[in-house]
Structure formats: C-alpha cells, structure tokens
C-alpha cells in the first residue's frame, strides 16, 4: 500500500486512527502491530511470514546478546555476527539473487537460473532498520527490548516501513511504550503529512510526466535533455522527500517523532554537503554502522579514502539491483574523494561556483541512477553536453517547456527554504487562517489527482 492512494487515505487511515484513539492506551501498540502487518502484506501477503521471521530473529538474538554481553563478549560478538549475516542474507537473496545469477552466468560454462522473485516491499529499508537494533544492544547504546509487540511494532511501523526514513532503534526506543499524543502533535502531523502529499501528488507526479515526455522524445536536443534531467531531479526529490514528510507526519499523528530525512539538498555548495542533506537517515546509518567501524578517518588518509570507496559502492548498490547503481555510488565516491583532498577549500571561497558545480554533478548523476544501461546513459549525457547531434532546441521542447513552466517554477522555488522562511514571517493571525485553508485546498486537489490516476507508483517503492 502507498500513502498516496485512495485505499490508504480513505479506508486504512481512518480505520487505523479511529481505533487507535478510541481503544485504551495500553492496546495501542498491539493495534499498530496488527495493522502494520496488513499494510505490509497488502502487496504480497506471503511476505508477512518473512516479516514475522525477521522480527523474531532480531528479537531473540537481541535478547541473547543482552544476556551474554556482560560476561562473554566473544559469544555476544558471535551472535551479533550470525544475526547480521541472517539479515544481510535475506536482503542478498531477495534483492540481489537474480543480479548475481545473471552476472555469474556470463562466465562461459556457468549457468545459474534466475528466480524472478518479487522484491519484498521496503526490504532495503527495514533490513537496515532491524539490523541496527542488536548492534545498538551489543554496543550498549540501547537497552534490550523484552516486549515482543513493541519490538515488532518498531520493525514494521507502517509510516516508515516501505520508504524510510530509516529509524535507528536507539532513536526511537523510548517512544515505544505508551504514547499519549496531543492535539498539538497531531496538528503538526497533519501539516507535515499534507506538505508531503502535495509534494508527491501535485508536484512529483506532475513533473514526472515531463521527464517521460523528454526522455522518450525521438530526437533529443540539448535543451530537451536538460529539461528532462531537471524534471527527473525535481521529481525524485519531491517524490522521496514528500514520502518522508508523509511518514514523519503520520508518525506524529500516532505520537512518534522521527528524525528529518531531507534538508533542501539542492541548495548545497558541494557534493559533500549534498549528501549531508539528501536521505540523511541512510547516510547516518552507513556512517554509524559501516564507515566508523571500518575505521572512518582515524587510520590515516589512504585508509579513509578506501573506506569512502567501500561505503559508496555499497550505498550505490543499496539503491537497486543493477550494476548501474554501483557505478552511481562510485561516481559519488569519486567526487567526494576529490573534494576531500582538493576541492572543498576552494569551493567554499566561491559559493556560486559551488552551487553550479553541485547541481551539475547531482543532475548528471541522476541519469546514471535512472537509465537502465550504459548505452542509454551515454546517449543521454552526450545529448546534455552538446554531442547528441540533434541541435540545441526544437518546437517540441518549447511546447513542453511552456506547458510545464508553472509547475517547474513552483518546484524550483519549493526545493529551497524560501517559501518556508517567508511563511514563518507572516503574522501568526494570518497564518491561523491560512494554514487550515491551505491544508483543505491541498487535500481536495490531491484527492482529485488520486481519483483521476489509476497509475501511481512510488519511485522508491521497489528499492
């Protein structure tokens, strides 16, 4: 199930919230545990078993680690290693088996059949989230969770189950007990959810059609290629950050506070800064559970550079089972390394140059992310940088540019903190009226688009 669907907004959500607030406080976690499974199993009911298995393994291993970590550090470490292997094994099997099989089969004389398994929804997200718990317990960063329902609810919590943010156990452990919730928190949740809904339904879906039109054009001009690349960059940001906003908003409606996942990435002045502002929870996860354990920056520059390379190769592959994602990760590793040893200081001195450079890297990089093969990528990059041979601009580009100008402008402005800052400067009296009115307008407009759309997939849905 996705948030921007009729069945979620007008059936699942009213029922979940209704029962949640009518039921006695002590039953809220049980209720959430159950409806999480419905949410998760909606697309592939069989995988509820996988989810339950994953919850059980991490729950019992967490307890095991907690029991032995004081007196037998070695044993605790072994259990942790086993647990991590199971988690990564499931991820590897369900997400990467076919990629590995296809790749290995290219060796003459070797043939491994592919399985064609449906990817369990959100497996990349919840595997990372679940894995963090036994590690936190082992490190002593979090207390063991003895209540199975609470732990299960944390793993399968529907707001962030399928597309993040990736919530680390230690960040949320003290919210797993009884949550009272407040009108204040609920209202902030509604605001945030509505912002996310607008980003997803009114901007991302809308501008996605521009990318489709540009990328499928018979002749790709320079202007057309840039229009398409910009459209996709904005679509992805509004799609994914909109989803995170909705997740944070829904969390608040249920009494949870999640950490932020995006912080206006497109205003960054360096690639290093970009990745501190884009998908923050993933970057944090890799830092805490991979980069620092590998030694981080404490073992000299060569080792640090190697660590960055490892982290980014895996970050790339995490995004999808295709070698182009590995390339995409290494592409970023290259820029990050370059900045680390050379560029960061000069870039800080000329911010304008930093902005332009960062946008060029990010927008060109999304093409690696989005296009399925090197051949397509090469064609697209050639077109963007003037070697496509289809000229600078044509009538069709002008038409598309004109048609999408309003939404492009809105998206470009909304990708910066400008609107937010302006809105917070309006007098509170006006805001007291404007906020509910804007919420109502967004809900009505989004509903119109959702009813109209029969096709409404999330870009990050299958990752």
């Amino acid at each position: 199930m996705v948030f921007s669907s009729i069945v979620f907004l007008f059936l699942y959500l009213p029922v979940v919230l209704g029962v949640y607030y009518i039921a006695p406080v002590r039953y809220r976690n049980l209720w959430l545990f159950l409806v999480n499974l419905v949410f998760y199993g909606w697309g592939e009911p069989v995988y509820i078993l996988l989810m339950l298995f994953s919850i059980c393994v991490n729950y019992f291993n967490g307890r095991w680690i907690a029991r032995v970590r004081e007196e037998n550090k070695k044993k605790a470490k072994a259990v942790l290693a086993l647990n991590t292997a199971i988690n990564l094994g499931l991820l590897l099997f369900f997400k990467y088996f076919d990629l590995i099989a296809e790749t290995v089969s290219r060796i003459p004389g070797v043939s491994v059949p592919t399985l064609g398994l449906t990817l369990p929804i959100g497996i990349s997200f919840y595997t990372f989230q679940t894995m963090s718990y036994p590690i936190d317990v082992y490190r002593g960063d979090a207390k063991v969770q003895k209540n199975f329902i609470r732990f299960g609810m944390f793993v399968a919590l529907f707001p962030q189950l399928i597309a993040g943010p990736i919530v680390r156990y230690k960040d949320i452990s003290d919210q797993l007990g009884e949550r009272m919730g407040s009108t204040e928190q609920f209202a902030r949740g509604v605001e945030r959810f509505t912002v996310g809904l607008a980003k997803k339904v009114l901007i991302a879906n809308n501008i996605g059609a521009l990318w489709d039109a540009c990328s499928s054009a018979s002749s790709l001009t320079v202007a057309g290629a840039w229009l398409g690349a910009l459209a996709f960059s904005l679509q992805l940001y509004f799609d994914f950050s909109g989803y995170s906003d909705m997740a944070i908003g829904l969390g608040r409606m249920l009494g949870f506070e999640f950490r932020e996942n995006f912080n206006y990435p497109y205003i960054s002045r360096s690639v290093t800064e970009f990745w501190r502002r884009w998908h923050i929870s993933l970057g944090t996860w890799f830092r805490d559970y991979l980069y620092i354990p590998l030694g981080g920056n404490r073992r000299g520059l060569p080792r640090q550079l190697l660590n960055i390379l490892i982290v980014w190769a895996l970050t790339g592959l995490w995004h999808g089972a295709n070698w182009t994602f590995l390339l995409w990760g290494l592409y970023y590793a290259a820029f990050l390394l370059l900045e680390k040893v050379l560029l960061l200081k000069p870039l800080e001195k000329v911010p304008v140059l930093g902005h332009i450079y960062t946008l060029l890297v990010a927008v060109s990089g999304w093409m690696i992310f989005q296009l399925d093969s090197l051949k397509e990528l090469w064609r697209y990059w050639k077109a963007m940088y003037g070697f496509g041979g289809a000229g600078l601009i044509n009538e069709s580009d002008l038409f598309l540019g004109r048609s999408y100008l309003p939404v492009l402008l809105v998206a470009a402005i909304a990708a910066t903190p400008l609107l937010k800052n302006l809105y917070s400067r309006i007098s509170p009296r006006i805001r007291a009226v404007a906020t509910p009115v804007l919420i109502a307008l967004v809900l009505v407009a989004s509903t119109a688009y959702l009813v109209d759309a029969t096709y409404n997939p999330f870009l990050y849905f299958r990752f």
Binding site: V7, L11, V15, P45, T183, A187, N206, F399, S403
Partner: protein, 373 residues
C-alpha cells in the same frame, strides 16, 4: 499555533478522511460509468487464493477508486486544475478553440505502416474483384493547426501517402476533399468519428472508385437526432463542461431496405438507425446499432452490383448514403469476423470491395492481417 487552530486542523483532517470513508461505505456502488464508457470494479469476492495471488488487493484498490464518492466531479476538477496550469490538455486530449477536443495522432514506425500496407496489397491481389482502399484522416490532421504550437502530432497525410504508394488498386483521396471543406463540421467536436457531413463528403469522393453517380447534395434531408452527444474525447478528457455535440442524419431510413445483423451467427432483423441508442451515453451506436461481426443490407435492387466493406466504426454513418447504388451491402468487421474473406467474396458473389479505415485504426488494429487468411 494556538490551541484553537490546532483543534481546527485536527478536526478538518479527521473529518475529511472520515466523511469520504463513510460516504464510500454507504453510497450504493455503480456498475457502469457512462462517462468513462466502461464497467467499474465492484466489490471483489474474498478467497485465500485470490488474496495470495495478489488479485484481491489489486481489485480492491480499483474498487475503492472506481467507486469513490462523486468520482466524476473529482475527475473534472483534476481536468480544470491541469488547464489552470496552462497545459491546454488533460489525459492526452487538447481543449482547442471552439470547444473542439483533439487527441493528437502518434504514428507507428514506417516499417510497421509498410507491413500493414503490404497486407492490404496482398488482399487486393488475391481478391479477384476490384478493391478500393480509403484511409480516413481525422480531426487531428484536419484541424491540427489549432493545437498548441509544438504539441507532438504526427502527420496522417504521410501515413496515407506511404500506404497508397504501396497499394496497387484504386484509392480515395479523402484528405483533399476534407481540406476543401474544412470549414464545415466534418468531425464531431467531442468524438473521434466523422459527422454525417464528413461521411457524405467521403461518399461523394468515393463515387468514381466505386462506380456510382453521387448525389450532389440535393437529395439531402437533414434531421437533427440529438443535441446531447458526448463522445469519446469528452469522456477521456474530463472536460465535462464542454457543450455536447449535435448529431444529424442526411438521409431518412429508405423504404424496402432490410438490414440483418449476424452478432451470433444467425441473422437478426435490424435497421439503419437505432433511436433507442440515443438514450444511452454511447450515442454513435445510433448508426447501425454498433459493432457487429457482419451486417448485410438488402436494398431490393437486384440489378445493381453488390459491395463488401471491410469496416471500422466510421462506416456505420457512411452506409446510409449507399442503398440507392447497390443491391446488397455487406459489412465485415475483422475484429470479430473469423472466417475467410476470400471465401466470403466467392460465396456471396461480391462485385467490389471497399477497405475503409480511419488512419488511427489502420495503424493500430491488430486484426488487419486476418484479411488475407
């Protein structure tokens, strides 16, 4: 925010989702959406098999959006919001001047067009009777200049040129005649079909190829049969506020004409016009009663030649002009007719054949190849 505003926001959101939750629960389901011209998803029945195959949940999602309260109002609102952004179109349909709705044409690759042309060529070479080919250019070609500049709209003229260059028999240059009379309403504003006037012009243009002397218009007796025709472009666009089309006929139902439909193999008496269809949404079925694998018209004028039309739906409003020139007129629809056309020509003693398709249908109908089987 003050406590009061927080409460307003809470109530606003909760009420919004709760009201539609309850409305969807209690408003009776609709089976058919006339506006969308399709059956809507009804409540899927539950079984563990359908649950685990994923069928149940996907049907249930369709059910929720298909049966959403005031569905058509929301669709029309979305269309208005698209127009408000200056897009000029919704769901692939442009709203042009004079409330004309145009769906741009998208041509298949030249090799595909050539392949289709070769099928008709082979058919003509093996038919043993004269075969005439008429491709009907539609509104996006004729009125293409009122689309916004730069909107993707492939040339239908190029398709027609390519196909006619391959075809060995007689062809009809409908585009030239249509262009001469482009000022008249040759196509409905809200539908993809031609009007009776468009069909009449085609009838005049085809006279030489089909060997009759066409009426110059003096025999026309215009009668308006409906002022409320909302066609397919209307439905898919969501522009539910545009003025409906007027539907007229230029010929009354002639005396002595028998029409028989073979929907299920056996003949059923029918007629040129079906007034009962004017009460439904899909009013174009007024002509000949809608699609059928085989329709045969007997004019009682046994000394005249007989004609076979390999048809799409454009033929339905074209046929009323033909009875005075032929003894029998056969309409076969390759989408539903499953026997050999060659055999049919021989067995029914057909004198001439007209293959008439709109450019769009010619480029997309996968049953075209059945012509030569």
């Amino acid at each position: 925010m003050t406590k009061r505003v927080n409460r307003i926001i809470l109530v606003l959101f909760s009420a919004f989702i709760a009201i539609f939750f309850l409305a969807n629960l209690f408003i009776p389901d609709r089976e058919f959406s006339p506006n969308e011209n399709r059956y809507l998803q009804t409540l899927p029945s539950f079984s563990f098999r359908s649950l685990f195959s994923g069928r149940f949940t996907s049907d249930f999602e369709s059910y929720c959006s298909d049966q959403f309260a005031a569905r058509d109002w929301w669709i029309s609102l979305k269309a208005r919001l698209e127009l408000a952004q200056g897009k000029g179109e919704n769901n692939g349909v442009f709203l042009c001047e004079g409330e004309r709705l145009i769906e741009p044409f998208s041509a298949p690759p030249a090799a595909e067009i050539r392949r289709r042309a070769e099928i008709v060529k082979t058919f003509a070479e093996t038919a043993n009777v004269p075969v005439t080919l008429a491709l009907i250019p539609t509104a996006s070609e004729l009125y293409g200049d009122i689309l916004p500049r730069g909107a993707e709209n492939d040339s239908q003229a190029a398709v027609i040129d390519l196909v006619y260059s391959v075809f060995p028999g007689q062809t009809a240059d409908l585009l030239a005649s249509f262009r001469e009379h482009a000022g008249e309403d040759l196509f409905y504003r809200t539908d993809h079909h031609w009007t009776s006037r468009g069909a009449f012009l085609a009838y005049q243009t085809l006279s030489e190829a089909l060997g009759y002397v066409a009426d110059d218009g003096s025999a026309c007796m215009p009668e308006i049969v409906s002022e409320a025709f909302c066609g397919t472009a209307y439905s898919s666009s969501g522009f539910f506020w545009v003025t409906p089309d007027r539907m007229e006929i230029l010929r009354p139902e002639p005396d002595g004409l028998t029409v028989e439909r073979y929907d299920a193999g056996v003949p059923v008496p029918s007629s040129l016009y079906h007034r009962e269809m004017l009460e439904t949404k899909d009013k174009y079925r007024f002509f000949l009663g809608g699609n059928s694998p085989r329709i045969v018209l007997d004019t009682g004028k046994a000394d005249l030649p007989s004609l076979l039309i390999i048809r799409d739906s454009y033929s339905d409003s074209f046929v009323p002009f033909l009875p005075e020139h032929f003894s029998r007129i056969h309409l076969l629809d390759l989408r539903y007719f499953r026997n050999s056309i060659q055999d049919y020509i021989r067995e029914e003693g057909i004198d001439r054949v007209l293959v008439m398709y709109s450019v769009n249908n010619f480029c997309s109908d996968s049953n075209l190849m059945l012509m030569t089987q």
